[in-house]
């Protein structure tokens, strides 16, 4: 039998192999990151999503939507007469990798801006990189709020455009007892803090609050706890693959959408497909956009997306927010007349486009976007039917300053 020890020679070789890429990476980082994006006839833009690992399930579709927007803009002549050239990097579902690749895109590729991220953990990892380099990140996913970096534009919903309207909707439906289910990380825990503050102020009883690790697949015990507590509604902030296990195991338990609807904030068309529409039909979701949303811009978006990626593909809220991010940035650049970051930031406030979800306007103050809130009912065919929408776009309020009950939160 071979001994399990390493010979000094192998050890040395291994060390060199490990260190070499790291050395190369630092060498690249050390280059001065002066130039911003535009060279000759091209403008380089970075796209940074997880193309491998557990988050690839969601982020690949957002990348596809962003590439579509870039292609469309190029077909119409580009920005400032220059073509956009995407530089794609893989964040690999690993938060330090996101920070590393962001630095690479900024200092080595010298991109004008970056579109990327999904999980709040990846955004939090990239935030210091973008602030330090004074570079721009466009983040396309709904999140827990309580953040407003001067170098990030948030094109997904903050809490007052998704979670708060969903709670208003449940309250209006006469739901008095709620059960909170979430994955164990920053977004669900922060979201539930907000939900509990809301519930306390509006006389809603929270019967239980349960968290499961990311990637958890065993939900029979949790479902039993829900069945035992008998809530009027379940508020679901589970993320990723866990949703599939949760809904499949909920269905066998005798809990039906008629008696106990589950409201999800991280289940969109793409996830419904993976869960199996029959397992989630009749439950509710809260977003700002559905594939079924009726606007002229959405008809064009859905048609173009299916033409490029296949007729069986669906479009979802984060994809649409990523698609919008590219257009919003392009509009800001056109207004500023340059890709220079500070000028683009200044020009971005008040920029408005007719997006697939309707009119979306950048709030210059907190760099979020005014969006219409929509509650949807999952259909047996996997599409989502809108059952309620806010009267118009809701002004973003990441710190919930305009809500009395939220005063103790931030």
């Amino acid at each position: 039998m071979r001994p399990g020890t390493l010979s000094p020679r192998t050890l040395k070789r291994g060390l060199i192999a490990l260190l070499l890429p790291a050395l190369l990476a630092t060498a690249c980082v050390d280059e001065p990151g002066a130039g911003a994006g535009a060279s000759g006839d091209d403008i380089k833009v970075g796209i940074l999503h997880s193309l491998s690992g557990t988050m690839a399930i969601s982020e690949v579709t957002v990348r596809d939507a962003e590439l579509l927007a870039i292609e469309e803009i190029n077909a119409k002549g580009g920005v400032l007469g220059k073509k956009l050239v995407p530089v794609t990097e893989d964040g690999a579902s690993d938060w330090p990798t996101f920070a590393e690749k962001a630095q690479k895109l900024i200092s080595q590729d010298k991109v004008a801006t970056v579109f990327g991220g999904w999980t709040s953990a990846s955004r939090k990892a990239m935030l210091p990189v973008f602030e330090r380099n004074k570079a721009l990140l466009w983040y396309p996913v709904q999140y827990e709020g309580l953040e407003s970096s001067p170098y990030i534009f948030y094109t997904g919903a903050t809490t007052n455009q998704q979670i708060v309207p969903a709670l208003d909707y449940l309250a209006a439906q006469g739901k008095k007892k709620m059960f909170l289910v979430g994955s164990d990380y920053v977004f669900p825990r922060t979201a539930n803090k907000i939900i509990k503050a809301y519930a306390a102020a509006k006389g809603i009883e929270v019967l239980g609050e349960e968290y499961t690790p990311l990637g958890h697949t065993e939900y029979s015990t949790l479902v039993n706890k829900i069945a035992d507590a008998k809530p009027d509604a379940v508020f679901n902030t589970l993320n990723g693959d866990s949703n599939v296990a949760f809904f499949k195991q909920l269905r066998g338990s005798g809990i039906t959408p008629q008696t106990t609807p589950v409201v999800s904030v991280s289940v969109a068309e793409e996830e419904v497909k993976g869960i199996g529409p029959e397992n989630v039909a009749g439950h509710l979701v809260a977003w700002n956009y559905y594939q079924t949303t009726t606007t002229p811009a959405n008809d064009a978006f859905v048609k173009a997306f299916k033409a490029k990626y296949g007729a069986d593909k669906v479009t979802s809220d984060p994809m649409e927010a990523g698609y919008n991010a590219v257009y919003l940035w392009a509009a800001a650049v056109a207004k500023a007349g340059t890709v220079e970051v500070e000028a683009v930031k200044k020009a971005a406030g008040g920029i408005s486009i007719e997006a697939p979800e309707g009119t979306t306007t950048i709030d210059g103050e907190n760099q979020h976007v005014a969006k219409t809130a929509r509650i949807g009912l999952v259909q047996a065919d996997g599409q989502i039917k809108e059952v309620w929408s806010s009267p118009g776009p809701i002004k973003p309020d990441p710190y919930l300053k305009s809500y009395d009950w939220a005063s103790g939160l931030s």
Partner: protein
Amino acid sequence: MGALANQLPIGLSIAAVLLLIALGLTFTFGQMGVINMAHGEFIMAGAYTAYLLQGFTSQSFLIALPVAFVVAGLMGLLLEWSLIRRFYGRPLDTLLLTWGVSLVLQQLARDIFGAPNVQVTAPGWLVGGVDVLGVRLPYNRMFIVVLAVLCVVGVWVYLTRLPAGRRMRAVVQNRELAGYSGIATGRVDRFTFLLGSGLAGVAGVALTLVGPVGPSLGTFYIVDAFLVVVAGGLGQLRGAVLAALALGFLNGYLEFWTDASLAKVLVFVVIIAFLQVRPQGMFVLKGRTLV
């Protein structure tokens, strides 16, 4: 009280899932000493087999069980023949090797089937559940329990009643002597791997009833599978059964009294404490090799 009683069948069904995912590993890891990190990807291969077969006939779900056994089994055989047989006796190297293989297989699945989860529609007779004495029994979980029992019985019969199984045990207990007695140990190794991987494929089909079907499916189950095998004692069928039952009920009740994250921590604490007292696991394989 009703909820507490409900936890009994839940504990049993968690145990059944654990047993299904670990059964194949008792062969490849327990008997052959290969730390097979790609075991989870064989489970994934089984799940995708169910996905590909659905829609062909009304009973495609049942047909998928043997087909997945063959598909995952052949993948295991290929892995053993092409790579692992060059690494016997080097457990740490097989760990790295099979981990690499698992990453390759995951990315392969992502390229073939796409990154998002796919949907495997459960057959109608497995949808819903029945109330027995106020205890809710979902059909899909009952099916998994029955399947786990069948697999264990099948493996037991194979190991104790069939010549091929006896040959396998002979090779595990004393490779040299088995070789000198005329057993083609190389061929037995390959077949052991086929069997272990094939069982992972069967588990994969069953798991489509209760879990996600996607490229990272295997990563969700691999740690639990190793826990069962290590706690049960390497290469021990009854050890695996007992460990799966113990871990299933432990998981079920600890999560009921605390929450999912804490229950996971507590289960690990219990296992670590147990392995301090009995590092060899619940049962010990009585080999005749001089170590």
